[in-house]
């Protein structure tokens, strides 16, 4: 661009002050850009790099985001991680891009599950001991270990955000400890960098769909799980208030708490403003999937049946695991653990074109891209 060069030189001589866009103004422009552009602009110059790496900028960009970017993240066979925009996840394999900035990751992929996500961080769980909190956009990561041996394996886990302390909190729960009458909840505060244990005078039983239900759903600053009552007869919802660090039991209505033989709750999911609960009803020769939703969770909950799907009975279970809503109101979901589908309002399933072998719903999570640092990590290095 010859003309561009000469024009710029001329402007500089004529009015050197007029086009000097200072850093504060650049920041205001960057706040209006999506994460992808901002990330690539880290490579502009050292001053842009440090501006974009600034935690204060990260916070403003997160809070002000004109169009927040939600991505679907999936860990595949060779521990490679792929991401896709939720709108195009179903299109083809090209819509998924590799994320390379995770290090020291030599785990068996079958032992990894994604335990949750919030504020741009994804929580990976390895077996039932170790966690890695990771920001796929910035590459910031932290391993969090539980003392082995001292603690029996936990049944439930999850992550949440405490807005008052600006803290990310990891939670693990052992539903029944050795004496049979107590449960043990442990939480890890990223800001304080320590575990806290709380013993409760109640106990529960792990549900039949243990793997599908083990990761808590974060909804309005509270984590939710579905478990069985101590006598193994009723479905119960338990909740951990991440801000108040309080455990609650939420009563499910009779028709969901006491299900007939052959029926069970297998999945819990937050989508949009609602919490959804998935139910499988085996009713020969059909199998029915029902999805119930609730708008707010108080002591008692009122659930509405939102969708139901029926399948002919097959040797392998056809379960549907909703992931999120797409822009046109369809549900993006996993069908049978590893096939991504879209479900329209009438309950019709639409399959994608991609080779789905690398997808698995336990290693897949929806997260919002952010430049946010880990709580407690913003301080100067000497601290």
């Amino acid at each position: 661009m010859k003309t561009g060069d000469s024009k710029r030189k001329k402007t500089k001589i004529d009015s050197p002050l007029s086009v000097d866009v200072n850093e504060d103004l650049v920041k205001e422009i960057l706040l209006k850009l999506p994460t992808k552009s901002v990330l690539s602009f880290k490579g502009l110059s050292k001053s842009w790099f440090s501006l974009i790496s600034d935690p204060e900028f990260a916070r403003r960009h997160f809070d002000a985001a004109v169009a927040p970017t939600y991505k679907l993240l999936n860990i595949v066979k060779d521990c490679a991680v792929y991401c896709a925009d939720k709108e195009s996840a179903l299109c083809d394999d090209d819509s998924w891009h590799a994320v390379s900035n995770i290090s020291g990751f030599h785990w068996y992929v079958n032992c990894i599950s994604v335990a949750g996500s919030c504020r741009g961080f994804v929580l990976l769980q390895y077996l039932l001991h170790d966690f890695v909190l990771w920001n796929p956009l910035t590459g910031v990561q932290k391993e969090i270990h539980q003392k082995r041996g001292t603690w029996t394996r936990h049944h439930l886990s999850g992550m949440g955000y405490d807005p008052v302390d600006d803290d990310i909190v990891l939670v693990t729960i052992i539903l029944r400890i050795h004496d049979g009458n107590h449960m043990l909840l442990r939480y890890f505060s990223l800001r304080n960098n320590c575990w806290t244990s709380v013993k409760y005078d109640v106990s529960y039983v792990a549900p039949y769909f243990g793997a599908e239900l083990r990761h808590g759903q974060l909804w309005n600053e509270t984590l939710y799980w579905i478990v069985k009552s101590a006598d193994d007869l009723r479905n119960v919802m338990i909740a951990f208030d991440v801000r108040e660090k309080r455990l609650l039991e939420i009563t499910l209505p009779h028709h969901l708490a006491n299900l007939p033989n052959g029926s069970d709750i297998y999945h819990l999911k937050v989508m949009g403003e609602y919490l959804y609960l998935c139910l499988v009803v085996r009713n020969h020769p059909y199998q029915l999937i029902e999805i119930w939703s609730v708008k707010e969770c108080k002591q008692e909950t009122v659930w509405t049946k939102t969708f139901d799907f029926s399948f002919y009975f097959r040797p392998s279970l056809n379960l549907i695991f909703p992931v999120c809503f797409t822009e046109n109101g369809e549900i993006l979901a996993f069908c049978n653990n590893n096939t991504l589908v879209k479900i329209d309002e009438k309950g019709k399933l639409r399959y994608g074109n991609q080779n789905n072998s690398r997808l698995h719903f336990l290693r897949c999570v929806m997260y919002r891209e952010s430049f946010l640092p880990l709580p407690g990590d913003e301080a100067e290095p000497e601290d």
């Binding site: 009015s15 086009v19 209006k32 992808k36 891009h97 949009g272």
Partner: protein, 182 residues
């Protein structure tokens, strides 16, 4: 479902904004209305290139830096305000943008230098709506553009070594892919 809720809220916001704009227009047009006699008035602004321009008070009112002075002094025709950082060319552009009710189509006709100068001027004059508008316009220009394009846009010198830049591109390879052509 949530998405739908959000979008309807956005539509509502847009509507109230439009209403505000329409109201503003009505007041400007309706000079007979009591209490708005001053609407026809003009304020003299002296630009950086020494040009004295008469600007409608409705536009000057968006310039918060001048607004404080208008509020303090009982304005009359002799009121003259120097705006030493803004050229007459840029002030004319600003007036057009305000009169055009901040239409992004108008911003598309501006050169890169004009966009930057208007941004700096909007910041100096403390014109909040204009600043938001022009920052959005610049964001639209540089969104999904190559690093080289944006360096050229802002006149930024690359102070990374070749190795440093290659490393950055490697780590976040996906962010550098699929950018628009310059």
């Amino acid at each position: 479902m949530a998405e739908r809720g959000e979008s309807s809220e956005a539509v509502m916001l847009k509507k109230t904004e439009e209403e505000k704009l329409r109201k503003g227009k009505m007041i400007v047009g309706d000079e007979s209305k009591a209490g708005y006699e001053e609407e026809g008035k003009k304020v003299k602004l002296v630009t950086s290139d020494g040009v004295t321009m008469e600007v409608e008070i409705s536009i000057v009112k968006e310039m918060e830096i001048i607004q404080t002075f208008i509020g303090a002094t009982d304005t009359d025709d002799s009121f003259i305000f120097p705006i030493s950082n803004v050229s007459s060319h840029i002030l004319n552009q600003i007036i057009e943008l305000v009169k055009g009710e901040y239409d992004q189509e108008l911003a598309k006709k501006l050169s890169h230098d004009e966009l930057k100068e208007i941004l700096v001027a909007a910041n100096y004059l403390n014109m909040k709506t204009l600043f938001h508008f022009i920052a959005t316009a610049i964001a639209n220009v540089i969104q999904n553009k190559s690093v080289e394009f944006v360096r050229d846009f802002f006149g930024i010198v690359n102070d990374f070594t070749e190795e440093e830049e290659a490393e950055l591109r490697k780590t976040n390879a996906w962010a550098f892919e699929g950018v628009d052509e310059d």
